[in-house]
């Protein structure tokens, strides 16, 4: 093995991140993620004088939007968490290895030469960037749209008490980070799927189906023994951060579960990728 292999150079990582950032489909994906909260806020603004529906109607946080723009971000995160955010991560993760294989560039990448473990690490770093960026984009766009249309103010927590806007924004940031960790676990599974095939679309669809299946299984009370092992089981725990006082220890199951998924599936991706023949 050559010198270039062991030396830790950020060049490969930077080039990978740039490659992800300049891809039109990724930019379009981010724009779509950012559009949802804007549409949501606009729709809520247009239907405000709807007094017929009492409080407590509609999905979580929706009823509070009209009082405070802050909740647009939360409602948008809640809505996008079930499909949009996983799809965004699935797109990146599916593309990671299978995309290179499909384009025939994987071979050339490995002859540079780059160790396969390092290539996987770089690819996962790219997925991580996406996983943490996506919720932040949704939250930021939601905040902007919400503040513009509904104004800002003190935020009512789930416990019925009020916290200042600065504290609330800090909590929103922690929520985004927590969701980032959750999506990073999804990305690890996606990276593994991506090493199994040469069709990026296949890996993406498989991962999306896995997410949806996980959500559906989580809704079936008869399968409650399975629930603790489901990937998506603790995603909605982000609401714990909106209690007063914050139930920090309630985030532990979600973080542990995400860590376990990352450990198992990254090592599986390594086992698969470093041992397989690269034919394209």
């Amino acid at each position: 093995m050559s010198q270039a292999d062991t030396r830790l150079s950020p060049r490969f990582l930077l080039s990978e991140l740039r490659l992800i950032a300049v891809r039109r489909r990724n930019q379009a994906g981010l724009a779509a993620l950012a559009a949802v909260p804007v549409i949501l806020a606009a729709a809520m603004k247009l239907t405000v004088p709807d007094a017929g529906r009492g409080p407590g109607q509609g999905p979580d946080f929706f009823s509070q939007i009209t009082g405070n723009g802050y909740f647009v971000a939360l409602a948008a995160l809640g809505v996008e968490l079930t499909l949009f955010l996983p799809i965004a991560v699935a797109m990146l993760a599916g593309d990671a290895v299978a995309g290179e294989a499909n384009q025939g560039t994987l071979r050339y990448l490995l002859t540079v030469p780059v160790a396969r473990t390092r290539l996987l690490a770089i690819k996962y770093a790219g997925i991580l960037m996406g996983a943490f960026l996506a919720p932040l984009v949704v939250a930021t766009s939601g905040l902007l749209a919400g503040f513009l249309l509904f104004g800002a103010g003190d935020v009512t927590t789930l416990s019925g008490t009020r916290i200042g806007l600065a504290t609330a924004l800090l909590r929103l940031l922690v929520i985004c980070l927590y969701l980032g960790v959750c999506l990073a676990a999804l990305g690890a599974v996606g990276l593994f799927l991506s090493t199994l095939t040469e069709q990026p679309m296949g890996a993406t669809i498989a991962l999306t189906m896995l997410t949806v299946a996980s959500f559906v299984l989580g809704q079936i009370p008869q399968l409650d023994w399975l629930h603790p092992y489901l990937l998506t089981q603790h995603w909605r725990d982000f609401g714990e951060l909106l209690r007063e006082p914050v139930a920090w220890e309630a985030l532990i199951p979600g973080l542990t579960s995400a860590g376990a998924y990352i450990l198992v599936f990254l090592s599986a991706a390594w086992a698969r990728f470093s041992g397989r023949d690269v034919t394209s």
């Binding site: 009492g54 409080p55 407590g56 979580d60 946080f61 009823s63 509070q64 009082g67 809640g78 009512t156 789930l158 416990s159 019925g160 008490t161 009020r162 009370p221 409650d224 603790p228 092992y229 909605r236 725990d237 609401g239 714990e240 209690r243 006082p245 139930a247 220890e249 309630a250 542990t256 376990a260 450990l263 198992v264 599936f265 090592s267 599986a268 390594w270 086992a271 470093s274 041992g275």
Partner: protein
Amino acid sequence: MSVFRSRPALRWLVPAAAAVVVIGGGAAAGTIAASADPALPERSAAQLLVDVQTAKIDGLSGTVVQTADLGLPSLPGITGGAGSNADLMKLVAGSNTARVWYAGDDKVRLAVLGTLGETDVIRNGTDMWVWRSTENSATHIKIPADAKRQERKTLAGAVPATPQEAADAALAAIDPTTAVTTTGAAKVAGRDAYELVLTPRDTASLVGQVRLAIDAEKHIPLGVDVYAKDANNPALRIAFQQVSFETPDAEQFTFNPPPGAKVTTPDRSSSAKPGAPHRADKADKSDKSAPEGTKVVGKGWTSVLVAKTSTAKTDTRNAEGTQQLEAITGALPKVSGTWGSGRLLQSALFSALLTDDGRVLVGAVAPEKLYEVAGQ
């Protein structure tokens, strides 16, 4: 590394080992915590009971987890429930997490946590608030100073909400029908605890054992497990997951309804049960306001409550509730015998019989015993 190079298949051992460690580790952590036997000086059941009666704490805060596996049949509107009652219905089927804060009898806060919601019951002096985040509503109840005791009892209701209340309910059931023993010390929420085991002497009871974990130092109940007969896992379990004996801040008990919230201040007469209007039709054995004709047959663990249903009254008051009740009873299996006919609700811990002539029989006994009572 060279092994992996010469035999690529061996690489798969790494993720496999990781998976085993992760899944096994999670399972093992639970068993280790449960089987750790701290060495505590022996204490008799009577001593423990006195400890509990005289326990005095200034304050505590913690997380209580309640799990119920009553083996109830799936009932429309209850076990699959949506709507505002879903949170409370989880008390009889499923798992609940609540956070509790306590700083003396007149400063109590209980927060039942939902996924993206919360139901709080906050008592601060003579004010009691019930906050429901999903409805954005708050109910304000003024408690007259002289009615303190009674109000507390009503709140405790059919399903005990905290380990303290659950233990009180279990202790009240102690009489000559029960064998009381203590066992090796347990560990609850990371604290050493004694275990008080109540075993019904009457084998006809569906209740196998009630195990009460009592904190070795503070003498307050940390958890209650109710086992059905011949069961290895508790049918009902309420225990602290985490507990701290520091007196919580006063601000935990102040509640001001947020602007935009729907605030209701019910009259004294209708405020008796803020939480659970529909819960009364389930295993509610402590409903003191039951109509005349209610009687208890038998003694101790095998006593059976016989009540007359007053459908006419509920009709005018709550049509929706009646409809729901009808949907539920309609889903129950039909039974009949020499005593008549009716519908039977059977679970691991109790049975309930609704006869067609309008009687309700409830008891922690097998259905046969209910039939026997119904035939009398």
